[in-house]
């Protein structure tokens, strides 16, 4: 395989995971664990698929229908993440349990709707095969060799990473957000509304995760089925931890894990002749995360108040 093709494949695989991990970064930096990323991705993938199919039936073009679908999935993701926010922030539920419940609820609910609306366990394909080129940016895509890189999905994710870094480190909002994740009591005493900050953070994570779910669907299955997301949300969580909750490290981790995955899928193009089964490449990212956690354990970067509900009265 040529290097350019490899790079494009890695980008296509990694970009949904990176944008979801950025969502998780907002939530976790504010002190709320979000295991529910998987469920939020499922919601995003479902809303985008359903919208696109219905609008295409009404005569809209593929690209327009997908864009409207992604727009609606952002709203759906924000609304759905409110369940997690309300349970874990206002009702002080265990954040891990609330996230797992969100995952189960998302899969159950979207599959229920799929059967009601589309009368089957999965939807039909939204037609990516014949429209793959519509994701490339006109004009730029004709540049020789690197033209394939100008895919607006990849561009979108790159922009989100830069904006995340800017917001988290350079804006007052980011400073307050991090304060809520490190020491909510101190943040509260400085007049920051911890609950409000955390609500906003969880909703941002819901929006980004929903877009990630849509991108994941566009990059692989091309339709909605129980296996459309298939653990990508947990993979994003792994990337977030491996990248130690820092935007650019998370992006790098995403690209690295994407590379491993692509090598696994395309066979041993990197080490021809060495019989390494694809499952090893699939499992390696997860093993790396465990090893990294142990190595980093002395000076872990995890937000100090991660997973602890904030109780004003115990300040």
């Amino acid at each position: 395989m040529d290097i350019m093709g490899l790079i494009i494949n890695v980008l296509l695989f990694a970009s949904p995971l990176i944008i979801v991990a950025m969502g998780g970064l907002f939530s976790e930096r504010s002190g709320v664990v979000n295991i529910g990323l998987e469920g939020l991705m499922i919601v995003g993938a479902f809303v985008t698929t359903a919208t696109s199919l219905i609008l295409q039936d009404m005569g809209l073009s593929f690209l327009v229908s997908v864009l409207i679908g992604i727009g609606l999935s952002v709203i759906a993701g924000a609304v759905f993440s409110l369940i997690h926010a309300y349970a874990s922030i206002s009702l002080r539920a265990n954040q891990t349990i609330s996230g797992i419940a969100l995952n189960m609820l998302a899969l159950g609910f979207t599959m229920y709707l799929t059967q009601i609306i589309f009368q089957g366990k999965e939807t039909e394909s939204i037609g990516i095969g014949q429209n793959a080129a519509s994701f490339l940016i006109p004009g730029l895509k004709d540049i020789p060799v690197i033209g394939g890189l100008f895919d607006w999905r990849v561009m979108l994710v790159a922009v989100v990473v830069v904006v995340t870094w800017y917001v988290i480190y350079k804006r007052p909002f980011g400073l307050r957000l991090r304060a809520c994740g490190e020491h909510p009591g101190a943040a509260d005493s400085m007049g920051i509304n911890v609950a409000k900050m955390r609500y906003q953070a969880v909703m941002i994570s819901g929006m980004l995760a929903a877009v990630g779910g849509a991108l994941q669907m566009l990059a692989f299955a091309g339709k909605f089925a129980p296996y459309t997301i298939n653990g990508a949300g947990f993979m994003a969580l792994a990337i977030l931890v491996f990248g130690q909750w820092r935007p650019f490290s998370v992006m790098t981790a995403g690209l690295f894990f994407g590379l491993l995955r692509v090598i696994g899928v395309t066979g041993n193009s990197l080490f021809p002749g060495v019989p390494i089964p694809e499952q090893v490449y699939f499992a390696l990212p997860y093993i790396f995360v465990v090893v990294a956690l142990v190595l980093f354990s002395r000076n872990a970067m995890a937000p100090k108040a991660l997973g602890i509900p904030y109780d004003k009265s115990s300040r």
């Binding site: 265990n94 797992i100 229920y112 129980p226 947990f234 699939f282 956690l293």
Partner: protein
């Protein structure tokens, strides 16, 4: 009888009850919104569980693995640990059991016993990893367990596809020896008499024994006492001279044994292990354990009855889809809502507190009246 009623902790009973009720109400609303009849749907669900002896046998059959994964989550809960790794422990336990079922030749009962013991041992190892990492390096057990779930998934899939593929369908393992069965003489006859034609087997007795063992370890042994102490207050337990780190590691490992046994029993019952897609197949049983443990307040008895409820939902879902045209996924929605509501117990706590207060006041008044 009055004494018994007075001893019940109403708060602990009311919150799960209200959670179940609320989840069913929302489920009914969703059914109405999609243009179906909820009474018809829940009626079909009910008769899909209690309709005849066959259905009841299938209900118990589906409950068995959920009881065991529920215990796996509950055991770690009592030590203040969150065992989200039950899916991986179940898969590894099932794989090891199936490997022994294929390659080892032994007399019938001995063979099955070895498979279950080996499955439990595999679960022990898979649970011990997050436990020891938590104890040694303070690494969060939730993250490690999630990573190990996926590592287990790919390991299991690799093993099936490369070493024990079924020639007819490579996504399944090949057939096991005929001695690898849970059809235990005498018990099989009783079960066949009670629940004709259903898949229910000796596994249900193992699950009940596991509940008893769970309650015994937690409530009646020094080890269990230490585990609970570590769960309630690690620093206090350390100060009292308990080995906190050892208890953390062992608690996760023993939790893994329950899940490993669940995997072994499940795979022996099905006679094979499948290539897992993740979250949609048998991994769901591991996640169901979380709902069961929480709903059952992490006690042996509680887990048993909550597993019956969730198992019932799953068993009745097919009839509901067939006779009321309500997609079976509604039971996934209801069980996830139950989990969400139980986790958000604070919502009902205020309500329950008010109710308990009223009861106490009433009792006091009665006492005053009697003494007059």
């Amino acid at each position: 009888m009055d004494k018994l009623i007075a001893r019940i902790n109403w708060r602990k009973v009311l919150i799960p009850m209200l959670s179940i009720l609320s989840a069913f109400v929302i489920g009914a609303l969703i059914i109405i919104a999609s243009g179906r009849n909820p009474i018809e749907a829940f009626g079909a669900l009910f008769s899909g569980v209690f309709g005849n002896q066959y259905y009841m046998g299938e209900w118990l059959f589906r409950t068995v693995p959920i009881i065991l994964t529920g215990l796996a989550v509950a055991f770690a809960f009592r030590t203040g640990l969150f065992n989200i790794g039950a899916p991986g422990q179940l898969a590894i336990g099932g794989l090891v059991a199936v490997i022994i079922g294929i390659h080892v030749e032994l007399p019938a009962l001995l063979h099955t016993t070895l498979m279950i013991v080996a499955g439990g041992a595999a679960g022990f190892v898979w649970g011990f990893i997050p436990g020891i990492l938590k104890a040694r390096y303070r690494v969060h057990e939730v993250v490690v367990s999630i990573m190990l779930n996926y590592t287990a998934l790919y390991l299991v899939n690799y093993w099936i596809l490369n070493f024990i593929p079924n020639p007819m369908n490579p996504a399944q393992s090949m057939a096991m020896q005929s001695t690898a069965t849970l059809k235990v003489p005498f018990f099989t006859e009783i079960l066949a008499f009670l629940f004709p034609n259903s898949r229910i087997n000796f596994g249900i007795f193992i699950a009940i024994i596991a509940c008893i063992v769970f309650s015994f370890i937690i409530n009646k042994t020094t080890f269990g006492y230490e585990l609970r102490a570590v769960g309630l207050n690690p620093s206090g337990a350390q100060y009292a001279g308990m080995k906190v780190n050892r208890n953390i590691a062992l608690s996760m490992a023993i939790a893994g044994v329950f899940a490993g046994v669940a995997g072994a029993i499940y795979m022996i019952s099905l006679g094979k292990i499948d290539v897992e897609q993740g979250l949609t197949g048998y991994y769901a049983i591991g996640f169901d354990g979380i709902a069961v443990a929480l709903l059952g307040n992490s006690t042996g008895v509680g887990v048993f009855f909550s597993a019956l409820l969730l198992g019932g939902l799953k068993a009745g879902a097919a009839s509901m889809q067939a006779f009321a045209q309500v997609p079976a996924e509604i039971v996934e929605i209801i069980s996830s809502l139950i989990l969400l509501f139980v986790a958000s117990g604070y919502l009902f706590e205020r309500f329950a507190d008010q109710w308990t207060l009223k009861r106490i006041k009433k009792q006091r008044q009665q006492k005053v009246e009697v003494s007059k």
